[in-house]
Structure formats: C-alpha cells, structure tokens
C-alpha cells in the first residue's frame, strides 16, 4: 500500500518537475522571442550610443602615449627620483635619445609634446626642437669610428645578424638590443627593408655604450669576434656626451621638472585628468591643489548646477499657469495657445538665442522701451545680457516647452469633477486648488523638472552666446577642450563627472520623490 503511495508521490513529483521544466522552456522561448524583437534596437543603441560614450569616457584615464612613445626612457627613469633634485644620468639621456630618434622619424614626438604640455608648459616646443635636431647629433662619430675599425659595421647585414643573435640573449648587449628593437620597429612601420637600410647612429651609440660599460658581449659566431675587437678599441674612441647634445638643443633638459613630468605621467593610466577637473594637479611631487589663479572647474560645476536649478524653477513658475490654462480653457482657445507654445519650440535654437540678444542688449528693445517709459534713465540702462541674467532668461524661454508639455498632459488627466466636489464640500478656490488639484499635478512637475534640468546642465551654445563671463557653464569648457585645445582626456574627465553628478541627482530624486511618481501623461 505504502509502496503504491510512494510511487504515486514520485510520479506526481516527476510530473510537476516536467511541468516546471516545460513551463520554463516556454518562458525562455518567450523571453528569447522578446529579446529578438528588441535586438535590432538594442544593438543599434549599443553600437552607436553606448560604445562611443564608453570609449570617450575611457579617455579620461587612458595615458598610453607616454610609455608607447618613450618606452626606454620610462624604464630608465625607474631608478631616478624627482626628489633628488638632480638631472637624470647619462643612461636616461641615452634611452631618451633612442626613443626620440625613433619617435621623430615616425613623427610621434610632437604629439607626445602637446600631451605633456598640458601638464608642464614648454614641453611642446622642447620636443619639437629636440625632434628636429635628434638625427643630427654628434653621435655620428661612433658610426665613423666603428666603420673605420671594420667596414662590416656599416653593413645592414651585420646588424640583421646582430639582432638575431641578441634575440636569444638580449643581456649580452642590453642597450644595443633595445636600440635595435626600436630601429626595427621604425623600419617595420616605414615599410623599409632591414637588409638595405644603412644602420642609424643610435645603433653605434648603443653598442659603444654597451662595450665601454663592460657588457658581457656575444659568445660565438663572426659577430663575437667583431665585438671582441671593437671592445679592445672602444677605450681609445673619441666620445660624446648625449646629455650635452640634448642640453645643446635646449637647456630645459637640465630641469628636473621636465623629467618629473615624464615620470609622473609614465603609467598607462592616469588620474591626472580627473584631478585637473576638480582643481587639483598631479605634479612630480604628488597631488597638489591648483594655484588660486587656475582654479576654475569646481566653480563652474557649482555654477552649472545652481543655474540649471534656477532655470528649472523659473520654468515651473512660468510654465505651470500656462499648462493650467491649456488644460482648462475651451478647446478653441487652448489650441491657439498650444500653437503659441509650440511655435518657438520649432524655431532654431540659434535664432531664438540671437533674438534674445537683440531684445536684451544695452541698446536693445527692452532697454529702449524702459528708457522711453522713463522707468530707467539713459545712463542707468539694465545689464540684461552677457551675464547670468541673460543666460537664465534665454534658457528659461528655450526650455519652457519641455516643462509645459508634460505638465499639460498630466493636467489633462485630472478630472474637473474633483475640484467641483471639493468646492461643494466647502473648500475655497485656493484650498480646492492647493489640496486637490496641485497634488495631482505634481508628477507632471517632476517629469518637466527632470527634463529641463538635465537638458539645461548640458547646454553650451546659449550660455556661450549670451552668458558673457559670469553666465557660462562647465559644458563650455568641455567644448573648448574638445574642439580647441584638443585635450580630450580632460574633456572626458569633466564629462564623466557631469554624467555621474546627473545620475546621482537622479538617484536622489528617485529616493526622495520616487521615479514612479513621474508621469509624462
């Protein structure tokens, strides 16, 4: 008996498991189908919207250019400390020589120069000048002396062999191996044939430095004999200081500040851009506050937030009555009113901004009328433009439809009977409005405020045109760094901070008001 019951249980357990499984399968199929339906849009958004934004924001920390362009210098600088206050050793200058020679041939040095110039003024021209001179350094005496010793040193084939030998044992002649690596990288990029290109001065310089420093050298093959002979001879070679060669181009190379900057920005990722965005800077000595006369970004962030809030509030104040009228007037009036709201909405942003210029300027329409009405005197014309007032007026006007439309669509859904019911129960007009109507319109205010605030925070054309100096936003600086100074890293860092600030405000709003309480209709 119990056996039967048990097996019954088992059957039903199995049956429900089967049922669950097939239900899951059906659900999964449904989900997949839904996913397939939205896939085109999802992929589209990922590829054309999310990916570029992530790529752009990533630039705020990316800093590979230094270690890519000056790999040997960066390594050599490991042993040098900025705090020592001394110029780095000859070995570092030699490493810089090899790097700069390759970079100058590939025309990459000026790019790095402009990158580092964002951090320390003067590096741009220092790199440009040095790059121009680096292939004319006096180090050619090494090439002359080696080839005088054995003409085979002047043959490209010798160096091809050398490179093969050093591939197995780079420690035999470490600097030569490193210089050869750079040389071959250069030939590869320029698509030159290593078998025919005459060896560059950097190779002879590196070989000389290796031999005179007592590097172990190669053990077998023809090259071993050649290097052994050369090792005997290098003591008698005429020498040249690479450091003097650089100093000859520009004595800024003696400035530890330059080297400190290279070292501070050597890592592949940097927080330098983010520090700059909050008025700090990464210096060779560590993180420091920007000097007073260069602090600007915090001030602009705060101003952007405060002014966007002001604009949002003035949109609510101006937009609420209009939306109320739109929702409550008879159809034929409200349609006309609606057109009046929408008409500026369809007009170009630039046209509206320029129109405000004509209206607001000192000799403009508004001031003229005020003077004509004797409200202000000729000399006391109001400053309505090229300051914060101008930005607030113009942007409130431009963003007003974004407040009115959500408000209107919410108000339309509020049944007029509620107000009537409130009044029939003895409420005054004001109480009926404030206690019954207004609470129901709050979701519209929420939606409108979010729209206006987020749009306002990213505006830059209007503030640029009517904001003067006190009415510009952080976005104006972002635009400047994108299009003029080409400091995309800093622009990306500023943009990331702005994005995070908006997301945090959104989160706070969700916490306090609840995003479910926002309605667009």
């Amino acid at each position: 008996m119990s056996d039967i019951a048990e097996s019954d249980d088992r059957i039903s357990a199995e049956g429900s498991r089967d049922l669950k499984r097939s239900l899951n399968r059906a659900l999964r199929a449904q989900k997949m189908r839904a996913l397939m339906l939205i896939a085109p849009l999802l992929i589209f958004i990922l590829v054309t919207f999310i990916a570029p934004i992530v790529d752009m924001l990533f630039r705020s920390v990316e800093n590979e250019i230094v270690s890519d362009t000056l790999p040997r210098t960066v390594l050599a600088l490991d042993d040098w400390e900025y705090t020592s206050g001394e110029t780095p050793s000859e070995a570092v200058f030699a490493a810089l020589y090899y790097d700069l020679f390759v970079a100058a041939e590939l025309k990459e040095h000026t790019r790095l120069g402009s990158r580092l110039n964002y951090e320390t003024t003067g590096i741009s021209s220092l790199f440009r000048k040095s790059g121009r001179r680096v292939d004319r350094f006096d180090t050619d005496i090494y090439a002359d002396q080696f080839t005088a010793l054995d003409p085979a040193w002047g043959e490209p084939a010798t160096w091809t062999m050398m490179s093969e030998a050093l591939d197995d044992d780079p420690d035999a002649l470490p600097e030569t191996a490193s210089a050869l690596e750079g040389w071959h990288h250069l030939l590869k990029v320029e698509r030159d044939d290593p078998a025919t290109e005459a060896p560059a001065d950097i190779l002879f310089t590196a070989l000389y430095r290796d031999l005179s420093a007592g590097a172990p050298g190669l053990n077998d093959g023809d090259l071993a004999a050649m290097t052994a002979t050369a090792r005997q001879a290098v003591d008698g070679f005429e020498t040249v200081s690479i450091r003097d060669q650089f100093v000859d181009v520009d004595d800024s190379w003696l400035d530890p500040e330059i080297w400190g900057t290279i070292k501070a920005y050597a890592p592949k990722y940097t927080i330098g851009y983010f520090l700059k965005s909050v008025d700090y800077q990464l210096t060779p000595e560590g993180i420091e506050k920007q000097p007073e006369d260069q602090q600007i970004y915090i001030r602009l962030f705060v101003r952007t937030l405060v002014m966007s809030l002001t604009i949002m509030v003035s949109c609510i104040v101006l937009g609420y009555p209009v939306a109320f009228l739109l929702a409550n007037l008879p159809m034929r009036y409200s349609n006309v009113l609606m057109i009046l709201v929408l008409l500026p909405f369809w007009t170009s942003l630039l046209v509206r901004t320029s129109a405000w210029k004509v209206l607001l300027q000192n000799q403009g329409v508004i001031n003229d009328i005020l003077v004509w009405l004797h409200i202000v005197s000729e000399s006391g014309r109001l400053a309505l433009i090229n300051n914060q007032t101008g930005t607030i007026i113009a942007m409130t006007h431009i963003l007003l439809p974004f407040m009115i439309l959500p408000l209107y669509s919410v108000m339309q859904t509020i049944p007029p009977t509620y107000m009537r019911a409130a009044k029939s129960l003895g409420a005054t007009d004001w109480t009926a409005f404030w206690r019954v109507y207004f609470p129901q319109s709050v979701p519209g205010i929420g939606a409108g405020s979010i729209l206006v605030f987020i749009l306002a925070i990213g505006y830059y054309i209007t503030p640029e045109l009517v904001g003067g100096t006190s009415g510009i936003f952080i976005s104006n600086r972002i635009a400047y760094h994108i299009s003029s100074s080409l400091n995309w890293g800093l622009a990306a860092a500023l943009g990331s901070i702005l994005l995070v600030a908006v997301l945090m405000l959104y989160w706070a709003y969700d916490r306090i008001v609840g995003i479910d309480n926002v309605k667009l209709g």
């Binding site: 990459e108 120069g113 260069q294 300027q361 403009g364 100096t469 299009s483």
Partner: protein, 370 residues
C-alpha cells in the same frame, strides 16, 4: 600562348589601363573653409577658375574650419577622412602638424614658383611657419571704434592704448575671450617694449601684470568668441571699440557704411592657409596637389584680395592686388600689410603660444570667472 591570345590580353589591358590613367586624379574634392565672405572669396578666386579649367571636377564645401582640428582628429581615429583640403589658421595648422594629422610637404615641389622664377620657399618666406602649412593670406586682429561715440572735443584714438584709457574714451570694449592678443596689448600699454613682450609674459609677474592691466577694463568689456560679434556690437552701438579681424571691419566700414573707423596701431598679424590631411588616398591626393599648385600662384593669391581685404601671403603677389570686385575701390590701402597701416605691428608668435596656450588659457578663463 597564341598570338591571338596575346593580342586579346594586351588590348584588354589597354582597355583597363585607359580609364585608370584618367582616374589618376579624383574628380571631386571636399574643401573645408569658414563660410561667409571669406569662403566666397575663395570660391571666386580659386575654385571657379579651377573648375573652368577642369569642368568635370566637382567641389563640395564644408564650413567647419572653426572646429577643423577636432573633427579631423575624430575622422582620423575613425579611419575615414573625407576632407581633401582644409583652411585653418596657422596655429591650428601647427597643432594638426604636431598631431600628425596634416601632411608635411616640400614647398618647392608642391607650390609653383613666382613668375620671375623665385622658388616658392623664398616667395612665401617667413610665412611657412609649419612644415604642413600652405599660407594663403595675411590677416590681422585690430581694433575698430565708433567715430560718433568719440567724446566731443577729444581727438579720435590713434594708438592701441586707447583701449585701456576709460577716462578719455569712456564706453564698452569688445575683446576676444582668449588670452592671445589681449595679453600682448595689455603689457604693451603697461609700458613693456614691444620686443620684450613675450619675455615678460613668460614670467609669473609678467602674467600678473598683464591681468592687472586687463582688470582696469574688465567690467567694461564684452568678451566675444565669434568673429562676427564685434562688427555687430559696433554696428548696434553696444560698444565704443572692439577687436576683430581687419576684413570684418572693412565690411562694416566700406560695405555697410557704418560710422566706424580702424585703429591699425599694434595690429597683430596672423596667417590663414591650407593644410592637406595626412594619408589621403593617392587619387584624391593627386587632385588636391594639382589644385594647390594652380591656385596658390602669384596671380591666384592676388585675385583673392579682389573679394576680401586680406593680404596675399606671397610677397610677389602684393603688386598685383587690384580693385574690389563690386565696390571698385583700390584694395591695396586696405591690406593690413600696406605700409601706411603697418607702421606699428606685432607678429603672432606661434612657437611661443604653442607652449603657453594651455597654461595661459587656464589662467585667463579662471581670471574671467573671478
């Protein structure tokens, strides 16, 4: 292979090769410029004559010179440069060259010699401020003022320091929203000799000095960012005097007939010209090179001055500058390089500003917001 096959094959090759030869040069070009009157002068002086000689070439204009540096970098990163020839100011050309976005060229190879055989590198001379830059015009940033707003009984201003003299010449000023030019003028009017300006400006004290001088007019200044702002502000009577490009002032004075006069004193010379984007496909590069060779000749550069009051960058072009195409007035006297106008001038120091631009701009913007 039989003879017949060989014949067939070779004629097939000939058939393929013939159109290829014609296609060596692309038959369309995208030229980037500033729009407005300036672009129009290039259309009239360069593009229309070129198209007359090469009727099958179509030219597309893109009015993006303002943000050319950023756009070119973006195009380069995307691996799809659609521009063939870009008009930029010299400082932008230097930046593009540094970034490896513009093509380096050999002036004597790419550009035609002057009519008397002077090689291009000599004819352009100092104007070749970068290895990538093909100079076109010399323009200047200078100051214009409202003649009807000069206080009664006062002589009209003749030197740049009137900008800082609010007592004698009250009224609003319009200055560009960037340190370049303003810092130089401030120091000059603070008593620094012209040759020492950049040495002084390199030091912290020198920069503070320039800002202190600018402080004296800060509250009476409208800061502009578009070249069209100052002419408009002058025409509206919003400001008494303001800096802008000399060509803009020319059109306010001569074409729009406004009561405005020019203060050539301490005008700052700057250059504008072409760059060819780096790594263009061969057929497009060939077309651009052909265009540049033919349209930067002595005569072509002189022709541009018929339509706009900017001086040609070739020294051999100067004597050929004629009358304005529509107004019929002699253009030579309106050129910034005319001896009467160029008594006291400053040349934009490209190398110096390439170094100090980032630093001083940060300070200048911080100063503005204070």
């Amino acid at each position: 292979m039989t003879l017949k096959n060989v014949l067939l094959a070779s004629s097939a090759i000939a058939l393929i090769a013939a159109p290829l030869a014609a296609q060596d040069m692309a038959d369309s070009m995208t030229i980037v410029s500033w729009g407005g009157a300036y672009q129009n002068s290039q259309l009239k002086a360069y593009v229309e004559p070129y198209q007359e000689a090469n009727p099958d070439v179509s030219v597309t204009w893109d009015e993006s010179s303002n943000e050319a540096v950023a756009k070119l970098r973006a195009m380069d990163e995307a691996g799809n440069v659609t521009w063939d020839l870009v008009d930029v100011v010299a400082s932008d050309a230097i930046r593009l060259c540094d970034e490896g976005l513009a093509m380096e060229y050999d002036p004597d190879e790419l550009l035609a010699p002057a009519e008397d055989g002077t090689p291009a590198s000599e004819d352009f001379g100092d104007m070749l401020v970068s290895d990538c830059f093909i100079p076109q015009i010399v323009y200047s940033t200078t100051v214009g003022y409202r003649t009807d707003m000069v206080p009664e009984g006062t002589d009209p201003p003749t030197d740049i320091c009137a900008l800082f003299d609010l007592d004698t010449y009250p009224g609003q000023r319009a200055l560009e929203k960037r340190p370049i030019n303003n810092m130089e003028w401030a120091l000059y009017c603070d008593g620094v000799a012209k040759d020492d300006i950049y040495d002084v400006l390199e030091t912290e004290e020198g920069q503070d000095r320039a800002f202190a001088k600018l402080d004296t007019i800060k509250d009476d200044t409208v800061w502009w960012s578009a070249g069209a702002d100052t002419p408009q502000l002058l025409a509206d009577g919003e400001v008494f005097m303001g800096s802008t490009y000399n060509g803009r002032l020319f059109s306010v004075i001569e074409e729009q007939d406004q009561p405005v006069a020019m203060l050539w004193d301490m005008q700052v010379f700057d250059l504008d010209g072409w760059i060819i984007p780096a790594n263009l496909p061969e057929d497009r590069l060939a077309r651009v090179k052909d265009f540049v060779k033919k349209e930067t000749t002595t005569q072509a550069l002189a022709d541009q001055a018929k339509y706009i009051s900017y001086g040609p960058a070739r020294s051999s072009s100067a004597p050929l500058v004629g009358k304005h195409d529509e107004l019929g007035i002699e253009m030579a006297q309106h050129m910034p390089t005319d001896p009467a106008n160029a008594k006291n001038t400053l040349l934009y120091n490209y190398e110096w500003w390439a170094d100090y631009r980032d630093d001083l701009d940060a300070k200048f913007q911080a100063w503005l917001t204070r």
